[in-house]
């Protein structure tokens, strides 16, 4: 499958993913968790879109919808020109090899009983990508080299690897079928500080070499700013701001983005003393019962009475910088 530069790899339109809450013997439906509530975005070829937000804001659910691990409640996901929103399991499988996934916890996402070689090579067999043992072996050792692992480690099992090496193995598995899009769901948050940089650099190198497109999901804004071309900020199932990453950090518009940015401490004491800080009050409300209107208004310092009535859509304020707030 070839794609033109600048062409979109994924188009997400009005995506909604609700999970039902059931109770009792008859599993009556008693409510809904609106994990993702009407979001739209596009990821272009060779681009990294960062998706940030606090836990429970729906960023992982978004990633899983694109992988079609969930069937969205509403909206559409168009991947390389195919509408994959409602495809059946058998129809989605041939497309899935074009989407790789790297998961958060390199300790839990690798089968402890499989050898490293099997873990990285399994997708090749599932998707019939190789003919014969020798081709398989060649491809697996190629993958190992690609991610900076020694092919002689192929026969080891996950517990013999360090956290960083396991994440490299996870990346090798994601890249096995030469995907166009890789969904990185918090790929570095479980790693040590000195190892995080190695993995970030590896992901950047691989993107340049293989022309990959990333959806980079993380809660660490400093890392997201570093790796992403564009960043989308999520709050309680909605995208509140989306922009080019430099612009977002220099000129954040949405009050939540501002608070989020100012909450992150910078490793520079002199700079820290001079920073203006916005500290949010309260906690994130439950997605089962979100506030009316703009979901952020109960915690917002700019909120007016109108904010409680309408949930504002994203609007363009120039240069592809979109924000969902009526007060800016």
């Amino acid at each position: 499958m070839t794609i033109e530069p600048n062409e979109s790899v994924v188009q997400v339109k009005n995506l909604k993913m609700y999970f039902t809450i059931t109770r009792g013997l008859l599993r009556r439906k008693v409510g809904e968790i609106k994990a993702v509530d009407d979001i739209s975005f596009v990821i272009k070829k060779n681009e990294t879109l960062g998706l940030v937000g606090e836990s429970g804001c729906g960023k992982t659910t978004t990633g899983r919808c694109i992988l079609r691990l969930y069937t969205p409640t509403m909206g559409s996901i168009i991947f390389l020109g195919h509408d994959i929103t409602t495809l059946t399991e058998n129809r989605i499988r041939p497309l899935r090899r074009h989407i790789g996934a790297i998961f958060q916890d390199p300790y839990a996402s690798l089968n402890p009983r499989h050898t490293a070689g099997t873990i990285a090579g399994r997708p090749l067999i599932v998707h019939h990508m190789v003919n014969g043992k020798s081709e398989y072996d060649d491809r697996v050792s190629e993958l190992f080299k690609l991610v900076g692992l020694d092919p002689s480690m192929m026969d080891r099992v996950p517990h013999e690897f360090s956290g960083g090496q396991r994440q490299r193995l996870g990346i090798a598995r994601a890249l096995a079928c030469s995907p166009s899009l890789v969904i990185c769901d918090e790929p570095i948050s479980a790693l040590d500080v000195s190892i995080q940089a190695q993995i970030i650099n590896l992901l950047e190198e691989l993107q340049d070499r293989l022309g990959l497109t990333y959806l980079f999901i993380a809660h660490d804004l400093a890392v997201v700013q570093h790796i992403s071309d564009r960043v989308a900020v999520m709050y309680l199932g909605c995208i509140v701001e989306i922009s080019n990453s430099q612009e977002l950090y220099k000129n954040p518009l949405h009050p939540y983005t501002k608070a989020l940015l100012s909450a992150i401490p910078i490793p520079n004491p002199a700079l820290e003393r001079t920073r203006h800080r916005v500290v949010l009050k309260g906690e994130v409300p439950s997605p089962a019962n979100p506030p009316t209107g703009c979901h952020f208004h109960p915690r917002c310092n700019l909120a007016i009475s109108e904010c409680a009535q309408v949930n504002p859509p994203l609007r363009d304020v120039g240069n592809g910088h979109e924000v969902a707030c009526i007060r800016v």
Binding site: E54, S55, S162, G164, D192, V193, S194, I195, Q196, A197, Q198, I200, N201, E204, H219, L221, A222, V223, Q225, H226, I227, Q246, Y249, K250, A259, L260, L261, S262, A263, I264, P265, I266, P267, N268, P269, A270, E272, R277, V279, L280, E283, V284
Partner: protein, 330 residues
């Protein structure tokens, strides 16, 4: 400024089947009155074990405090039995600790009230009514709404951030001299992290407590700590005033660590991060030489042949454990 807590040459080893793990190896530090210090390092570098050793909470066996002194109020705490009366009066009373995981460090089958009042009844000899009143006050102080009603709730009815607030309230309940916060914010979101740390700072200012923040987050220490100790493989490799450490790091590990974290809003164009080569060492049967040697960019011949350097002064209150003068090579 008075020195409140002085730890000298503390050594805590764990005996395992594979050999002896020197989790804390010759660590010395001190905490002054009304001061916030930061203990920074990657996971497994021994920062938590150091604090557990101060509180004598290291499980024995397999762990054992094999040497050193922990001097608090003129007494060497290590002279007292871990389960003895004196240590019990210190622990929670004069030195309090906030643990890493608010989810697991509260007892799920006891109400918040029971857990908060227990410490006060033990250490301050309050009766249950007075303790309850004080517990409600404390919950209000740490920002829990409807404290009168919520005090009878169970931990599972609280969110992660709220539970950590309860932990802070519990730690402050007996007005300790020193508060140790062991990775207080790893399990919570960034905006909650900011709320909690601001709360802790405020409490420390109000109650004239000293605070030790144990963390791997360099940003957190930059924002709150006045002095910093950097740990690597069970040793303190650099210590100094916060400004000096961040502006002018001198130990190769600190230099490398500061280069490998992406900083918010600092770069205008994509700049490559400089990762630290290799892996943190395994602490089993460590060699005599500097533990950072295999990953060091500044190493010289002397590093391989001689045992690791003792902390030497390189500036005002600034110490490093390294033979190399990194400033010349920079």
């Amino acid at each position: 400024m008075n020195t409140l807590l002085q730890v000298e040459n503390l050594k805590t080893y764990f005996r395992t089947y594979r050999g002896i793990v020197k989790a804390v190896d010759d660590v010395s530090f001190n905490v002054n009155d009304k001061e916030i210090i930061g203990l920074v390092g990657e996971s497994g570098c021994g920062k938590s074990v150091t604090m557990l050793s101060v509180m004598q909470l290291v499980s024995t066996p397999p762990g054992k405090i094999v040497g050193g002194k922990v001097i608090f109020e003129g007494q060497d705490l290590l002279q007292y039995k871990a389960k003895g009366d004196y240590m019990s009066s210190i622990r929670g009373g004069k030195i309090a600790m906030i643990f890493q995981e608010p989810m697991t460090s509260l007892n799920p089958v006891l109400t918040i009230c029971r857990q908060l009042t227990e410490t006060m009844e033990c250490h301050l000899g309050m009766d249950s009514h007075a303790a309850r009143r004080r517990a409600i006050e404390l919950l209000k102080l740490v920002g829990i709404p409807e404290a009168e009603n919520r005090i009878d709730a169970y931990p599972h009815q609280f969110s992660g951030g709220m539970r950590q607030r309860v932990m802070i309230a519990m730690a402050l309940s007996c007005s300790p001299k020193i508060l140790i916060a062991d990775e207080p914010t790893t399990a919570v979101d960034v905006t909650t992290q900011a709320q909690l740390l601001d709360l802790m700072k405020e409490m420390v200012d109000q109650h004239h407590t000293s605070l030790i923040i144990v963390t791997h987050n360099l940003g957190v220490v930059a924002r709150y700590a006045q002095r910093i100790y950097v740990m690597y493989a069970g040793r303190i490799v650099e210590s100094g005033l916060s400004d000096d450490i961040f502006e002018n790091p001198r130990h190769p590990y600190t230099i490398a660590l500061l280069k490998c974290v992406p900083r918010l809003g600092e770069t205008t164009e994509k700049k490559k991060l400089v990762p630290i080569k290799g892996l943190p060492p395994r602490l089993i049967d460590m060699p005599e030489h500097c533990p950072f040697l295999p990953r060091c960019a500044y190493k010289i011949e002397k590093c391989k042949t001689e045992p690791v350097s003792v902390l030497r002064e390189v500036g005002n209150q600034h110490y490093i454990s390294c033979f190399v003068d990194t400033q010349e090579k920079k």
